[in-house]
Amino acid sequence: MGKKAMLKTTRYRVLEITPEDVPEPYSVLDTDGNLLVDTPPLTDDEALAGLRAMMLGRRFDEHCIKLQRRGLMVTFAPGIGQEACSVGSVMAVEPERDWFVPQYREAAGQFLHGFALVRGYLWHMGSPLGFHIPEGLRMLPFQAAVAGQISHAVGLGWGLRLRGRDDVVVVHFGEGASSHGDFYEPANFAGVSKAPVIFFCQNNHWAISTSRPLQTAAPTVAHKAMACGFPGVLVDGNDLFAVYEVMRDAVARARRGDGPTLIEGFTYRLGIHTTADAGTRFEDPALRATWEPKDPLFRIQRYLARKGKWDDEIERAMEEEINAQLEAAWAEAQAEAPPSLEESLRHVSALPSPRGM
């Protein structure tokens, strides 16, 4: 590292990341869905299931944006364009034992992990039921404080080990979060304790209006793992196959006790930051244009189409099925009785309740 660049001027070795130390994000499929490696990491059926999960997330986000424009939803952060990150992550874990710890842009992955669709709607309606974790669901509620959940994931993974289990924890966050002490401190903890945690950073190139170069001078977020003593991987975050593959390996590593991995999913916020603040005011349209063809849904669809597993009819059927599912969940969510402040007082602590107003 850095040898070439510095040895001519210094008598000692300088530890630096040189351009040749920075890989391209690992892709398994090209943007047109062609396989770039010998064997796909997922079967066609698995790919189809993954595609369906991504489409469900996409349609859910789109539906909620529409509902939000009608005043029926509160501010939320859609995951449009980034679905492969959370879906690929969850496909690599076992929901009946492993944990998924979201930030706030991972609805697609959350649903796949077992979060009920109706709860998704309730969440975006501003209901506390969107934060309630039913028995058996291994997920923490969405987290509004950027990077606030990362240390919880580390404690959780560490605690599972202490309790004699080999379950793993996947935590998602953005590249903005990766500038925060609440990312670095627990990541460093995880290195020392070898907590079975996969740190998945969705580098979508924006933190509200702040562009990626303003966030850090490190060439990649993945390199930040070096500060904590564990491996980093840079993966094409719009490629479900690639995300799944690196996640699969990281999960295996964590499960066998070899500690954490930091994965940077190189992706792009094709949608808005949140329904309250698009964050796109100064976005370079040319940059955006390069990302649109990289849509993670399109890529898998093309791959499956080429294998005869995807066509207009299948698509239409799936869209209809998803729509019906969404409509049913939305109806269910609307039927839910509104929460009361009185009940909220009972959830502050088990005993005794607060002294009220």
Binding site: V74, Y104, P128, F131, T210, L341, L345, G356
Partner: protein, 327 residues
């Protein structure tokens, strides 16, 4: 005079202060290119360049800590924390460092930093984006703290804060950024730190508030007047240092008082106001009834569906006034 919203008053004052003194600079998350999530720094980067209006990485602790260093280097930083709850992510830098620069250097260094932040809820923001934690920052010797309720004070207090030789916490009423409008004096307009404002005179009961609550309280005072209760409304404007004299004079006159804040009750700032009022014998011996707190419940700020039940409205303030003015 010009008619302005809160956010316009803040933005134009920042602009004027940057024009007045080239050492004044702005840093924070999204303050530059986008002009802030509430547009309080809109177009200032265009105007003053990206060296003086800086989009920082996402790290509140480093924003505040860097502001300390920038100040020592001779700059006059105005740092923004995007939402008040996130001051907690920088709390050690605020309470142990920023607040103590002058004290711990035995007067030899100073940190003329203004720390701006929106406070409070009412706009259906995501959880943790509606918090009111003025009581935390009030208990940090070395910090002053202001919380304007209207555009004229927003201007006058912001200019005073920027020019103060020490750190000032500048609290903006989140739900009032666009909703609160008012006349703002043109040109130089300074409101001194440490002076409360009697919004409305009255003889039966003193009601004390700050920031967005002043509007609610003033409306309640009108209604109370119709019911025959003459309410004196005090807008604290500066929370630290507290304008005790104004509070004492008012309570000595009315003998009754209500303190209103959106923050949760236990260890909220109302306790300080009450304890301070009691420090004056005229005020104490004038008291006919206990001083009443109208505050948020002892829960975190809730998610959106619960907001209407959670927020303090006119009715709750009126109930407080009635309680305070019982015979």
């Amino acid at each position: 005079m010009s008619d302005m919203t809160m956010v316009e008053a803040i933005r134009s004052t920042l602009e004027a202060e940057m024009e007045r003194d080239e050492r004044v600079m702005i840093l924070g998350e999204d303050v530059g290119q986008s002009g802030g999530v509430f547009r309080a720094t809109d177009r200032l980067q265009e105007r003053f360049g990206s060296a003086r209006v800086v989009d920082t990485p996402l790290a509140e602790g480093a924003i505040v800590g860097a502001a300390v260093g920038l100040a020592i280097a001779g700059m006059v930083p105005v740092a923004e924390i995007q939402f008040m709850g996130f001051t907690h992510n920088a709390f050690n830098q605020i309470v142990e460092q920023l607040a103590r620069v002058r004290y711990r250097s035995w007067g030899s260094l100073s940190a003329p930093v203004t720390l701006r932040m929106p406070c409070g809820g009412g706009v259906r923001a995501p959880e943790m984006h509606s918090d009111s934690f003025e009581a935390h920052l009030a208990h940090a010797p070395g910090l002053k703290m202001v919380a304007p309720s209207n555009p004229a004070d927003a201007k006058g207090l912001l200019a005073s804060a920027v020019r103060d030789p020490d750190p000032v916490i500048y609290i903006e009423p989140l739900r009032g950024y666009r909703l609160i409008r008012g006349e703002v004096p043109d040109g130089e307009h300074l409101v001194p730190l440490g002076k409360a404002r009697v919004v409305r005179e009255g003889t039966d009961c003193t009601v004390i508030a700050w920031s967005a609550a002043v509007e609610v309280v003033t409306a309640a005072a009108e209604t109370a007047a119709q019911r025959g209760i003459s309410v004196e409304v005090i807008d604290l404007r500066t929370l630290v240092p507290l304008d005790a004299e104004t509070l004492w004079a008012s309570v000595a006159k009315t003998g009754r008082g209500v303190i209103v804040h959106e923050a949760s009750k236990t260890a909220g700032f109302a306790g300080e106001v009450i304890a301070t009022i009691l420090e004056n014998e005229d005020a104490f011996f004038a008291l006919h009834r206990p001083l009443v707190r109208v505050c948020g419940p002892d829960t975190p700020y809730p998610v959106q569906m619960l907001e209407p039940q959670y927020l303090i409205d006119e009715a709750r303030v009126l109930a407080g006034i009635e309680k305070a003015t019982q015979v």
